[in-house]
Amino acid sequence: MTDVAILYDSSRCSACKGCQSACKCWNGLPSPLEKNAVSCTGSYQSPPELNGDTRLLIRFDEAAGGSKGVEWAFNRRSCMHCVNPGCVAVCPSGALHVDAETGFVAVSAEKCVGCKYCASACPFGVPQHYGPEKTINKCTGCLDRVEQGRAPACVKTCQPGALKFGDREEMLAIAHERVALLKAKGYDKAVVYGENELDGLHVIMVEKYGLDAAGLPENPQINQVVDILGLMKPLTGIGAAAIVAGLGLSFLTGIGYKRDTLHYDEAAHDVVDMDTGEIVRHIDVESEE
C-alpha cells in the first residue's frame, strides 16, 4: 500500500458531527452522560477541545456577518498524521510509531508511559492523555479498518461527502481541483492544507475560508526545545563517558598509593607521622586561633 490520506473538504462539510460520533462508536470511546458535564463553548462545538475520549472534533468558527447574521467556518480537528511526526520522534516508549503501510501515526497505548513528550512535540496540540495512568489517546486513522480494506469510520459515515479516503496523491489532486473551483467562485482565501506543512501531512484539508477561520497555523513548527531535548541524550552519554574516563585515569594513577598514619600530639601541638616518627607539622595554636 502506498501512502494514504484522509481528505477533509470544509466546503462540503455540514458540521453534522457524524464523523465525531462514528469515531466514538468505532473506537469505543465514552461520552459523559451527566447533565452539563461538558462545558458550553457558546457555539455548537462540543466538547470544547479534543480530550481523552474525543479523538475527532468538529470545530466551529463563528463570526458576525452574512445575510443571517452569522458566518460559520467548520473544520475537522484530529491527528494530522504528519509524514515526519515530532510526536514519534520524541516518544521514548515506542507507543507512537509510523505505520509503514499507510504512513499514519499508529498508537500502541499499552506501551505509553504517560510522559506527554508527544503533546509537547505536536504543533497542533493533538495528543491527549486520560485514564488512571494518563496514557495517550489520539486518532489512529482507524488502522484496524484500513488494514481490512475499509475506510476510516469518520470517512465511512460522512453523508455530505466532505471526507474522502485514498491514495495521498489522489487526495491532493482532488483538493487542488476543489480549491481552484472555490477560488473561481470568489472564495479567495480557499487553500489546500497538508501538502507541504511539516514535510506533508496524511490529512489533507480544503479550507474554504482560509487558515485563520479554520484555526490552523500557517507554518506549523515543532517546538525547537524538542530538538534540544534530542541533543541531551548524546550529550549526557558523552558527559558520563568523559567523567568515567577521567575518574578511571585518576584511579590508575593512584594505584599503589599508601599514606602514613598521622597522629596529633595535643600537648606539643604536633602532627606526627607514626610510621617515620617525624613531626609533619607544628600547630601554632595562637596563630591558628
Binding site: N223, T236, L247, Y264
Partner: protein
C-alpha cells in the same frame, strides 16, 4: 590505640543514605523514560511500574531532607555556616591543586582544610543545586502528567531543565561516589563516615580536614578511643 572523631550524626547518615539510594534509583528508573531502547526492552506493565516508582522516589528525595531539616534546624544552620564560610588561603590552594592531585596523588600534597573542604563546598553545592533543580522541575512534570493541566511549552521546558540537571547530576554524582565511597585511593575509608558509624579515624581526619581535626582533638568533645558512637 586508634582515636576517632565523630563527624556525622545518625540522623545525618540516615538522611544522606536515603537521598543517596533514592538518587541512584531515580537515575535508573528515569533512564526508562530517557532512553527509548530501555523502555522498549521491558514489558509495558514493567515500564508503568518503574514510572510509578520514579514518582514515589521523587517524593521521598524531596520530603526526607525537608523533614530532617525541620527536625534539626541547628544542623541546617551549621551546614550553611560551613558551606558559606569565607574562603581562606588554604581553600584557594586546595582548589588550585585539585586536578593535579587527582591525577598524581602520590606527588601532590594538599593543604589542611576546615570541616568542609573547598572542593566539598563546590561539589556538594553543585549536587544540592542539581537535586533542587531536578526536584522543582520534577514537581512540574509530576503535576503536569497527573492532576494539573500545564501547557505543552511549560512541560517541554521543564523536561529540558530536568534533562540538563540530570547531566549535571551524572557528572557531580559520579565524582561524589568516586571520592565519597573511597574508590580513589587516598580516600579509602571515607565510606564509613556516611555509611558506617559516622566516625573518622584520627589519621584520616588529619589528612583530609587538618584544621578541623586539630580543633576537635583540642576540644576533645567528639573523640573516642574505640568505635563506640559518641552521642
Amino acid at each position: 590505640m586508634t582515636r576517632y572523631i565523630k563527624r556525622h550524626t545518625l540522623q545525618t547518615r540516615i538522611t544522606h543514605g536515603t537521598v543517596a539510594v533514592s538518587c541512584i534509583l531515580l537515575a535508573i528508573t528515569g533512564l526508562f523514560v530517557f532512553v527509548p531502547a530501555l523502555t522498549t526492552a521491558v514489558p509495558p506493565h514493567v515500564v508503568l511500574m518503574i514510572r510509578r516508582a520514579h514518582r514515589i522516589l521523587g517524593v521521598i528525595i524531596i520530603l526526607v531532607p525537608l523533614i530532617s531539616a525541620i527536625l534539626a534546624p541547628k544542623g541546617v544552620a551549621h551546614l550553611f555556616h560551613n558551606y558559606f564560610a569565607k574562603w581562606d588561603k588554604d581553600d584557594f590552594v586546595w582548589m588550585k591543586k585539585f586536578i593535579p592531585y587527582m591525577l598524581a596523588p602520590k606527588k601532590i600534597h594538599m593543604p589542611d582544610q576546615h570541616e568542609v573542604k573547598a572542593g566539598q563546598r563546590v561539589a556538594d553545592g553543585a549536587l544540592i543545586v542539581g537535586v533542587l533543580v531536578m526536584a522543582i522541575s520534577g514537581i512540574f512534570l509530576l503535576a503536569g502528567t497527573s492532576f494539573a493541566e500545564l501547557s505543552a511549552s511549560t512541560m517541554v521546558v521543564m523536561r529540558l531543565i530536568h534533562d540538563i540537571a540530570f547531566l549535571w547530576m551524572v557528572i557531580f554524582g559520579l565524582a561524589h561516589i568516586y571520592l565519597g565511597a573511597g574508590i580513589f585511593q587516598p580516600y579509602r575509608g571515607t565510606r564509613r563516615l556516611m555509611f558506617g558509624d559516622g566516625n573518622v579515624e584520627e589519621s584520616d581526619a588529619l589528612y583530609h580536614w587538618g584544621h578541623w581535626a586539630v580543633d576537635e582533638i583540642d576540644k576533645g568533645e567528639k573523640i573516642t578511643d574505640d568505635e563506640e558512637v559518641v552521642a
